[in-house]
Amino acid sequence: MTTTTRRNLFKLAGGAAFVAAAPAILTMPVRAAGNRRIAMIVKNLGNSYFDACANGAKQAAGEIGGIDIIYTASAKPTAEDQIAVIDAQIAQKVDGIIVSANDADALVPVGKKAAQRGIKVMSFDSAIAPAGRLVHLSASSTPLIGAKQVQMIAKTLGGKGEVAILSAASTMTNQNSWIEAMKEEWKKPEYKDMPLVATVYGDDQDDKSYREMQGLIKSHPNLKGVISPTTIGIRSGAKAIVDGDLVGKVFITGLGLPSEMKDYVLKGACDTFAIWNPVEYGYSSTFIMNDILNGKPTSEGSKLSMGKKGETTVGKDGECIMGEPFVFDKSNVEEFAKIF
C-alpha cells in the first residue's frame, strides 16, 4: 500500500506541477526576431478607453513596420501593481515603454531604472513626473480645447445667435481655464453676431445641470446655442433640449463622451461635440516613441512625428501636445460609442 500511495502522491504532485506550468507553456512568446518591442502600460485592464488607445498603437506599429506592441496593465489601478508590471517589461528588455501613470511620483524610480538599462520611457494620458520619463503627450491644450468649442457652436449656428455656457462647478480649475480660452477665441471678429449671454454652473450633477439648462432657456428666449465643457453638463443639457421639445431651436456642444451623446446627436439636440480620440492618442504616442527610439532628441523645442497627425514640438519639461480635440458628429458617433 505504501508504494501505491506514494505513486499516487507523485502523480498528483506532477499533475499540480503541470497545472502550474501550463500558462507559461501556452503562451510561449511569438515574436518576429529583430522587431522592436514597445510596451504600452495603462492604468488598469478591462477599460475600453485604453483598449482603443492600444488599437491606435497597433495601427501605428503597422504603418511604421518592425514594431511589436505589448499592451498590458495590472488588474488593480494602483501604483505598486503598475510598478510590478513595468518591472516585468524592464526584465524583458523591451525597447520602449509608454505609460498612463496611476501615480506621477511613484513611477519615477522605476522610470529611472528603465532609463539606466537603456529603455526609453514616455507617458501619455496621465503623466509620470518629469524626472521619470523623457516626454509626456497631452491630448490637447487649454487654448485648443477652448477655441474648438467656440468654433463648433459657430459652425452649427452659422455664426449668429445668443450663446451661453453651462459649466461644472465654479471652482473647477479645468473648466475655468477652458472658459477663459473660449472668451479669448470669442474676441475674434467672426463671432460678433454670436454674443455670450450667460455662464451658469451645474456642479457636474445631472439634475442641477438639467435645471440650469431649463433656466437658461427660460431667461434667454433668443438663446440659440449652449457650450458645456463637461461631460455631465453636455449630456444633461442635451436631455433638457430633447425633453423640452426644443430640438432645432437650441443646440448644445462641448466636451462629451460618444457613448453618452450618441442618442442626442442622432435626435439632433447636439450637432457636434468634441473630446480626444483614444485611437489617435495611442497612435500618436507610438509614433513619438518610434522617433525617440530612432535617436531623435527630446529637448525643449525638438520636433517629433505623430504619423498622420503631423508633428508635435516638445515643450517645457518634455510636455508635448497632440492637437485640438477630435470632433464627433452623426457620421462617426455610433462607431465611437462602442469604444468609450
Binding site: 500500500m1 505504501t2 501505491t4 500511495t5 506514494r6 499516487n8 502522491l9 498528483l12 504532485a13 499533475g15 499540480a16 506541477a17 497545472v19 502550474a20 506550468a21 500558462p23 507559461a24 507553456i25 503562451t27 510561449m28 512568446p29 485592464l45 478591462g46 505589448i70 498590458t72 496593465a73 495590472s74 488588474a75 488593480k76 489601478p77 494602483t78 501604483a79 505598486e80 501593481d81 510598478i83 510590478a84 508590471v85 518591472d87 516585468a88 524592464i90 526584465a91 524583458q92 528588455k93 501615480d103 506621477a104 511620483d105 511613484a106 519615477v108 524610480p109 531604472k113
Partner: protein, 351 residues
C-alpha cells in the same frame, strides 16, 4: 498504521518523543509539494523565457512581494491560532499616511520607520483588544477595522498624494541594500538584495525559530489545536492572541514604511486588496485555517512560489486578471491534493 520501528530507535529504555523518520512521511510533507512546485516554476520559467534567471530581474521581482511576505509571517501565526487579521492592508495605508505627514514635517528616516511601526502597533493593539476583551470573532472585528482604517485615510487624503520624503529614506526602498558583488569565480557572487527582501529573510528565520523550537511556539500550536484545552493547561491564551494581533500590526507598519520608501508617493488606495494576497500566501503555505497546523518554512516556500509565478507570468505578458484566475486555481488544486489523497486511501482501505 503502526509501521514497525527500526531496531536502533526501539531500545526498550528509550522513550520516543517523536515518531521515527520515514521517507514516506517526508514525501507526504506539504513543504515537499511546495518545493516540487517551486522547482517546476523555476525550470519552466527559465525554459520559456531567457530573462527569468537574471539576478537583477529576480531581485526586482522580490521587491514586489517582500512587503506582503513580511505581513504573511505574522498572519501565519494568527491563522495558526484560528484567528485572522483582514485589516493588515488598511493598517499599511494608515501607517504609510502617518509616515507621509511625518516626512512632510521633516522627520528623519529612522523616525519615519518608528512612526510606521508605532501606528501599526496601535492599530494591532486596537484589533487585539476588541478580539480578546470583548470576545468578538476576529474576522468580524478586522473586517470592521479594515473599513475604519482605510476609511480614515480616504477621508483625510481624498484624492491627494503625499510625495515629500527625505532622499535617504527613499534610497532604502529604491536601491539594492546589498550591491551585486562578483568574484573571480563566475558562478560565485553576492546577488543584489533589496532591503525589504533581506528583512523578510531575517524575520522568516526568527519566526521559524520561535514557532518551531521554543515553548511559546508550542503554546501557539496548542491554542490552534484546541483553545479550550490550552486554556485549561494554563496557557495564557488571550494574552498570546492579543500579542499576535499587535505583532501583525507591527509587521504591517514595517511593511508600510518599506512600501512608502519604495514608492516615494502615497495615496489612499495604497496596498489595496493585499489582505487576500497575504492570506493566499499563508494558506498555500500549508497553514490550516482550522488552526493548529502549519510551518514557517511552508509559508516561506509559498511566498517564493507565488512571487515567482506572478513574475514569470508577467514577463510573458499574461494579463493581471488571468494571473489572478491562475493563482486561484493553483491554490485550490494544491489544497485539494492532500484531501484527494486521503479520500483515495480511505477508498482503498475500505475496499
Amino acid at each position: 498504521m503502526n509501521a514497525p520501528v527500526t531496531q536502533e530507535s526501539q531500545d526498550r529504555y528509550t522513550v520516543l518523543d517523536r515518531p521515527p523518520w520515514r521517507l514516506r512521511d517526508a514525501l507526504l510533507r506539504w513543504e515537499v509539494i511546495l518545493v516540487i512546485l517551486l522547482v517546476l516554476t523555476v525550470v519552466v520559467n527559465s525554459l520559456v523565457s531567457d530573462v527569468f534567471l537574471d539576478v537583477y530581474n529576480l531581485a526586482d521581482a522580490t521587491s514586489n512581494f517582500s512587503e506582503m511576505a513580511i505581513i504573511a509571517l505574522a498572519m501565519a501565526l494568527l491563522i495558526l491560532v484560528r484567528d485572522i487579521d483582514l485589516s493588515v492592508a488598511a493598517i499599511v495605508a494608515l501607517a504609510s499616511m502617518s509616515i507621509g505627514y511625518a516626512a512632510a514635517a521633516g522627520w528623519s528616516p529612522a523616525m519615519l520607520f518608528v512612526v510606521g511601526i508605532g501606528v501599526g502597533l496601535l492599530c494591532g493593539a486596537f484589533n487585539g483588544a476588541l478580539v480578546t476583551w470583548f470576545r468578538l470573532p476576529s474576522i468580524v472585528v478586522t473586517i470592521g477595522t479594515m473599513s475604519l482604517f482605510r476609511g480614515l485615510t480616504q477621508v483625510i487624503l481624498g484624492d491627494q498624494a503625499l510625495t515629500k520624503y527625505p532622499q535617504p529614506f527613499l534610497d532604502l526602498g529604491q536601491n539594492y541594500f546589498i550591491q551585486m558583488t562578483e568574484t573571480s569565480v563566475p558562478w560565485l557572487f553576492v546577488p543584489p538584495v533589496p532591503l525589504s527582501f533581506l528583512i523578510f529573510l531575517i524575520l522568516a528565520v526568527v519566526f521559524g525559530i520561535v514557532l518551531h523550537t521554543t515553548a511559546v511556539g508550542r503554546k501557539l500550536f496548542a491554542i490552534g489545536s484546541n483553545p479550550i484545552a490550552a486554556r485549561f493547561s494554563g496557557i495564557p491564551v488571550d494574552r498570546l492572541r492579543f500579542f499576535l494581533f499587535v505583532l501583525s500590526g507591527i509587521m504591517s507598519g514595517l511593511a508600510g514604511a518599506l512600501l512608502t520608501a519604495r514608492l516615494g508617493s502615497m495615496r489612499s488606495n495604497i496596498a489595496i486588496g493585499w489582505e487576500l494576497d497575504i492570506v493566499t500566501m499563508v494558506i498555500l503555505g500549508g497553514v490550516s485555517i482550522a488552526g493548529g497546523v502549519g510551518s514557517i518554512l511552508g509559508v516561506f516556500l509559498a511566498v517564493l512560489v507565488l512571487g515567482l509565478v506572478r513574475f514569470g507570468m508577467s514577463i510573458n505578458n499574461i494579463p493581471g486578471q488571468v494571473v489572478s484566475v491562475y493563482i486561484g486555481a493553483l491554490l485550490i488544486a494544491v489544497i485539494s491534493i492532500p484531501r484527494i489523497f486521503e479520500k483515495l486511501r480511505g477508498w482503498r482501505a475500505g475496499r
